[in-house]
């Protein structure tokens, strides 16, 4: 039972990937749709999705760091 934390890390990493993937996917889909409707606004749309995209990525990365910490620190 002493390696149970590894099980949790594996599960958690999977959940992080699902969450981040869904989030980035939704952003990319919305951006693609917006640009398809209004190609001249492409620059503005890209600028607007950049910030939430990086914030989302930051949360995912922090989750991964904590997962790594669980493995390293036990």
């Amino acid at each position: 039972m002493e390696n149970l934390h590894l099980f949790g890390v594996g599960l958690g990493l999977g959940l992080i990937v699902i969450g981040a993937g869904l989030g980035i996917g939704r952003l990319a889909a919305a951006a693609a749709e917006g640009i398809a409707r209004q190609p001249e606004a492409a620059d503005k749309i890209t600028g607007a999705i950049n910030l939430p995209l990086f914030l989302l990525e930051g949360v995912a990365v922090i989750g991964e760091v904590f997962a790594l910490l669980i493995v390293l620190m036990k």
């Binding site: 910030l51 990086f54 990525e57 930051g58 990365v61 922090i62 991964e64 760091v65």
Partner: protein, 309 residues
């Protein structure tokens, strides 16, 4: 990779791989510094691997950015040539796409220098980790000069173990984010005055029970912003290197698992293209992370200046 076998005799490859990868991305031991310096105020000032990389980055930024700009400023005709052209395009991109939209035209000349310094420094520090010059030096050290990996006083052995990305060290990014933290406060103070800056943290005109919840949240948020910057940069720079090394380690792991050299060598057909692809991805990550840090710093500073509650 080269030194792992001699440091831990007897244990299996799988046990050594994890240790080796962590060794690659972490700072070198303070007990065996690269350059010995005296203690100042009880702090050991000796130079470790990442500090040496910071020095190299500082020299590189000076040579490729500061010197061409100085030379350009001395010119009388004001036409940029050579390196100054390249720098001008980057500076203009950062100013027009990051600083102006977030800080507003009034404060551009106040904060663009800080944002640009962040960008150039982080870009160089990130990118230098992708240059495998230190791994080559290690191979040269071992097989041409014949110095064993266990010699911890050798200069090249000290800087070895590849992947020397200074921004992959959390201490470096904490320092960078601390600059952003104080820049936010100074920007707010300069724009609105010291008292008004702290008042601006929460919207005014709400019923008082809301403030009991809101003020602690805003104070936590003040510290979470630089914390997120720290984690994002360091974790991204460390993560890519770990992924590359882990994929390359598959060769050793599988060769031991199946007790055959052929398996290990044939796995190279998978490992090497995969590691090359991730290296390509890392080059994008290097650029994107430098951009993200500067963008978010500009956004946070802009939030303190242009309060819209």
């Amino acid at each position: 990779m080269i030194s792992g076998g001699e440091q831990t005799h007897g244990s299996s490859v799988v046990d050594q791989v994890g240790e080796n990868i962590i060794h690659h991305v972490s700072n070198s031991d303070i007990q065996h510094p690269i350059v010995h310096l005296p203690h100042i105020f009880g702090i050991d000032m000796s130079v470790t691997k990442h500090v040496l990389m910071l020095w190299i980055v500082a020299v590189l930024v000076s040579v490729t950015v500061i010197i061409p700009i100085r030379r350009f400023l001395r010119k009388s005709d004001g036409v940029p040539t050579g390196m100054a052209n390249a720098i001008e395009s980057v500076v203009q991109f950062i100013r027009d796409s990051i600083v102006v939209p977030n800080l507003g035209p009034k404060w551009v000349n106040t904060w663009a220098p800080l944002i640009l310094t962040f960008f150039f420094f982080i870009l160089f520090a990130n990118a230098i980790g992708m240059v495998p010059i230190f791994d080559l030096l290690g191979v040269f050290n071992r097989f041409v000069l014949g110095i064993p990996a266990s010699d911890s006083h050798n200069f090249i052995n000290g800087i070895l173990h590849g992947g020397v990305t200074a921004t992959g060290n959390f201490n470096v990014t904490v320092a960078l984010a601390t600059v952003t933290f104080f820049a936010i406060i100074i920007a707010g103070t300069k724009a609105h005055g010291f008292i008004q800056h702290w008042k601006n943290l929460v919207p005014h005109g709400l019923p008082w029970p809301v403030y009991i919840i809101l003020i602690p949240i805003e104070i936590i948020g003040m510290f979470v912003k630089p914390f997120a910057l720290t984690m994002r940069l360091a974790a991204n720079m460390t993560g890519g290197h770990i992924a590359i090394l882990a994929i390359l380690s598959f060769m050793a792991i599988f060769a031991e698992m199946f007790q055959s050299t052929v398996t290990g060598v044939s796995l190279a057909l998978f490992s090497i293209p995969m590691a090359t692809a991730i290296t390509g991805l890392e080059i994008i990550v290097v650029l994107v992370q430098a951009y993200v840090f500067t963008l978010l710093s500009a956004v946070f500073i802009g939030m303190a200046i242009n309060v819209h509650h």
